[in-house]
Amino acid sequence: MSVSDFLSKVALHKEYNAFIQIDEIDLNKRFENICDGPLKGELVAVKDNICVEGLNLTCASKMLDGFKVPYSATVIQKLEKAGAIIAGKTNLDEFAMGSSNEFSYFGPAFNSVDKSRVAGGSSGGSTVAVGCGLVDYALGSDTGGSVRQPASFNGVVGLKPSYGRVSRYGLVAFASSFDQIGPITKTVEQSAKILGVIAGHDPLDATSMDVPVPDYVANLKRPASEFTIGIPKEYFGEGIQPEVEEAVRKTIINMETAGAKIIEVSLPHTEYGIAVYYIISSAEASSNLARYDGVRYGFRGSDESMDEMFRQTRAKGFGSEVKRRIMLGTYVLSSGYYDSFYGQAQKVRRIIKEDYLNVFKKVDAIITPTTPTTAFKSGEKLTDPMAMYLNDIYTVSANLVGIPAMSLPVGNDKNGLPIGCQIMAPSFKEETIFQLGTLIEGFQK
């Protein structure tokens, strides 16, 4: 693809609002300076909470509108060295907080399959850019499902790697015990290829783990008969759309027919996942977002006095969902509530982790739906935060436990909307996910 081909494609899909920034001059320079490597000449869109030197970074917030990035994230440096071309910055829910991409200062991104539906979030723009075929791949970030849920809604492949698998140097922090950067692609093989490039230890990220990166692409094929797969009964409960359950069950039957051993397992504390997630992630967010004070970068709301500057900057610079989470996070950390909310959530988080570790003694992977329903209508959950949060019920556990998880398309509902199937594996076993994903892709043909 040339610069002009790309730009005219983007112009044709303008109403999807997938991109926040594309800089033609910058893009021309990037096309002239392509490195030799496994991703040579491939276009990658980047969620606008990841630093790319030469482009602005907004986090889809008024707070950072116009922020000039002084350095590139480690993942960006690795992609460029492998020959990829950074196409531009994509839309998201403000500071990656949201499940629909409707909480963006630059307006919502819309679903690539049905424009009247939400893109999903928070990495909505990245998944729409891949879904519409504007780029070869995209990067997103996943804190509670922000790569997998929109991937599911747009019929593409989205991976949340293990905690510590990919460097977060240059990713704007939201909830530091959960955040991971992950690839959004059309195929499982592409996902394996991108992860192989961006994974690995980075001394600039103290949470990145020094674990060898296997050759994912060379090991994609493994017979189904070598796997034992767990199906957690708690993931097929109340509130699931029947067509979603049907498509995922069909995938499991196909897997069994192909020779895999399927066993029912129990993750008994699944129902507490959302509560644990929203307490801890909001607490971490309220702390991480304390840095937006009008002093060092971004928007300043007042010059009256120091305290007035802090309060006005944050009142005018943050949108409604971000404020809601800062309020929730501050509440659960405040004196008198810390033990019963934050402390208790940390303990239940450990219980949930133990549930998973126990199940992984018996199985190589777990298969579930990615979301209870297909993409919902724009505006449907906008005024009901609890309804929006419950959409993450199947995705948050992987972040709570730190394990890798992928969503990949396994069919459509009667309205033609994509259905996503989720594969989870033990930490640093992304290889297993890619192998099972490759088998599942084979069933779709």
Binding site: P70, Y297, T330, F341
Partner: protein, 97 residues
Amino acid sequence: MTKISREEVLHIAKLARLDLSEQEVETYSEQLSDILGYVKQLQKVDTNGVQPLTHVYDQVNHLRSDTNRKSLNVKSAVQNAPDTDGTYFKVPQVIKD
């Protein structure tokens, strides 16, 4: 369900250094009550003897050697500041004359 009062909302907003409009105080009082009512279900879980999880892996700190390395230069560091004299960040006067 416990309702989060207007006073509590204002107290939390003060801790978080957020100025809220009248409308926001009302909305957040309702929505936070709703969310906290939901997350309260965690108090049903028996966590006796369970250690809080602060990190998903049982790892120790990664320490690097204490050597000089390149960092941002001053010009790049202050370029995004709302107010600067080119070297320092400028803020409203803290101690009044």
